[in-house]
């Protein structure tokens, strides 16, 4: 009798568990189905399609608006490779690398120092935190336009040079004016994430260091830097991954009126925004050719990103 009751309870419990299990599964499948579908279409399929695209050639029909598609072998890759290897292709690469170098060697160290200042809550740190983040909030387009008017109209008013710092034929002057803007507005997200990471540092470590008589530089170099190194790695890596998609805010500043220098991110965006074309022409790269160009760049930059990540994880300071 007692055994029967026990069996029954067990059975009921088992049933309840099974029904709970099914319920959980149904809920899981229902809730995940739409995001999964979206991911498969817009990430997996779009990227897979981008590979297919790179091997296709589209030719317009003569008598109607339709087109013919054929397998293009490596024609698109050849066009894209020639673009990279051309003189302006190299210029674009060098410009992008130069911007990254400034970010890595100038913005990152100064942003770290700023974040240290803010997270130690020295004078006005709350104010600095808000002001540093303003350019990110107000949108880089608006900051870029205000900057453009200042280096054109205000500069022209003050110096009498009506062309301004972004006009004229001096490529170097235009380039450094644009570069300066990029450095100027780069601090917001950097400082936000670094201060976030710094606020997670255990205060007992800082107190121990203080008792040992560590000065500001020692505290920054031996405690803060090693402890937030994973965040720094993330920034370095996203920077590398974005080298060739970074537009240097040039579309904000120049729109489609390309100045005498170019970068890949800006070039790429210009080609896809506005009036993209499926058909190859001498004036504009076609979408299949752009896909091939994107694939070549991804094939170069993805392994570099992964290698740098491995390297940094090996040589990085240990947080012990």
């Amino acid at each position: 009798m007692e055994n029967n009751v026990l069996e029954e309870t067990k059975e009921r419990k088992k049933k309840k568990m099974t029904s709970l299990h099914t319920q959980r599964k149904v809920f899981y499948i229902v809730m995940f189905s739409i995001p999964t579908l979206q991911f498969f279409i817009f990430y997996i399929y779009a990227n897979f399609n981008s590979i297919l695209f790179a091997f296709q050639k589209y030719t317009p029909n003569l008598n109607d608006l339709g087109y013919q598609v054929e397998f293009a072998f490596f024609d698109n890759f050849e066009t894209a490779w020639n673009k990279i290897m051309s003189a302006d292709g190299w210029d674009m690469i060098l410009n992008s690398l130069q911007l990254y170098a400034w970010n890595l060697l100038f913005v990152t160290p100064t942003a770290l120092l700023f974040s240290y200042y803010i997270s130690k809550q020295y004078k006005f740190s709350g104010f600095f935190r808000v002001v540093l983040y303003l350019p990110t909030i107000v949108s880089s387009l608006i900051m870029a336009l205000l900057y453009k008017y200042i280096v054109t109209d205000v500069y022209g008013f003050l110096t009498g040079d009506k062309v301004g710092l972004l006009g004229g034929t001096d490529t170097d002057r235009i380039y450094y004016t644009v570069l300066f803007f990029n450095i100027w507005i780069a601090y917001g997200s950097n400082v936000m994430l670094y201060t976030g990471a710094m606020s997670n540092i255990d205060t007992s470590i800082l107190e121990a260091a203080k008792l040992d008589g560590a000065n500001t530089i020692q505290e920054f170099g031996y405690i803060y830097l090693p402890l937030i190194f994973p965040t720094i790695i993330t920034f370095i890596l996203t920077g590398i991954a974005g080298i060739f998609t970074n537009q240097m805010a040039m579309f904000h500043i120049f729109g489609s009126n390309v100045p005498s220098f170019d970068v890949f991110g800006y070039f790429f965006y210009r080609q896809t925004a506005g009036n993209p074309t499926l058909f190859p022409s001498a004036k504009k790269m076609s979408l299949p050719e752009l896909s091939a160009l994107g694939l070549i760049i991804t094939a170069i930059i993805a392994p570099i990103t992964l290698l740098v990540r491995k390297g940094l994880e090996k040589i990085g300071p240990s947080s012990d």
């Binding site: 899981y28 995001p35 608006l65 608006i142 205000l146 109209d153 074309t277 694939l295």
Partner: protein, 320 residues
Amino acid sequence: MKKDKTKPKKHIKFNFVIVLLFSILMLYAISIIVVLLWGFLTSLKDPIDFRDFGNVLGLPDMKWSKNEVKFYNYVDMIERGFQVKVSDKSYYSGIFGTVSLPEKTVFFPELLLNTIVYAVVGALLNAFTAMTAGYLCAKFKYKYSSFVYSTMLIVMVIPIVGSTPSTLKVLYDLGLFSSYLGMLVMNISIGGMYFLVFYAFMQGLSNTFIEAAEIDGASQFKIFTQIIIPLSSKIIFTVFLLQFISYWNDYQTPLVYYPTLPTLAYAVQQNEAGSQGGTRYNSVPLKVTACFIIAIPILIIFISLNKVILGSLSLGGVKE
């Protein structure tokens, strides 16, 4: 006993590094504020005052302001200045070889509507999807959960440069190109970083609530809507705000994927690019006014909610 309210005085000594950092930060903060202030003052000037009388740096001279209204530029810009000429023809014929739609001009109310659909609904969907995926992956230990988690990590590390052309084609093939539905579907994405933020937060949530509710016979849907969503409301709000701000400011995605549904930021960029006639609206004061019309709502949100925006997100979840 009377409590001694004075905190123990810190031993303040002159620290060269800190003073130097303070000075640099102050200079930087001033540079940002001066640019914004110059912009605001310029937005109050009449183009005649600015251009013909060379009042580039001074205070606005009210005798030039029409109808004695101080914010006339703002009224004028909202009533007439904000306009985008949309030509469906150029977007379709080159890429997909299909019919052209009639040209039309989009004014402020429609621009605002598009911006709201894109920024409010888009950001809501985005935050909600990332939260749902974070919850499902953290609390449902199925194999698929770890697959999604590792896929998201890979997606964040591998830079894919050339998927825009292919995404355009996918959107077009699905009939979603330049439509509200397309705008929303693109945002039901699990996302990279915010998914990780939610995942970390959900992992930190104790299972006790969920288990207790399950024992009481609550359905999974009820647990999700009545326990999980309220518990994560703060972080959902923060992610929503950050996404809202970035969508509000983004003109590049609409320009490529939704060219017939221009947003306010899109209009600012187009006005700058000079695609719109009329010298008054192409003058610096009016262009700056356009910038401020889209910046002011964001500035108000940021100033009133800066603690939420700057303080509560980290990859380790929410900080109290």
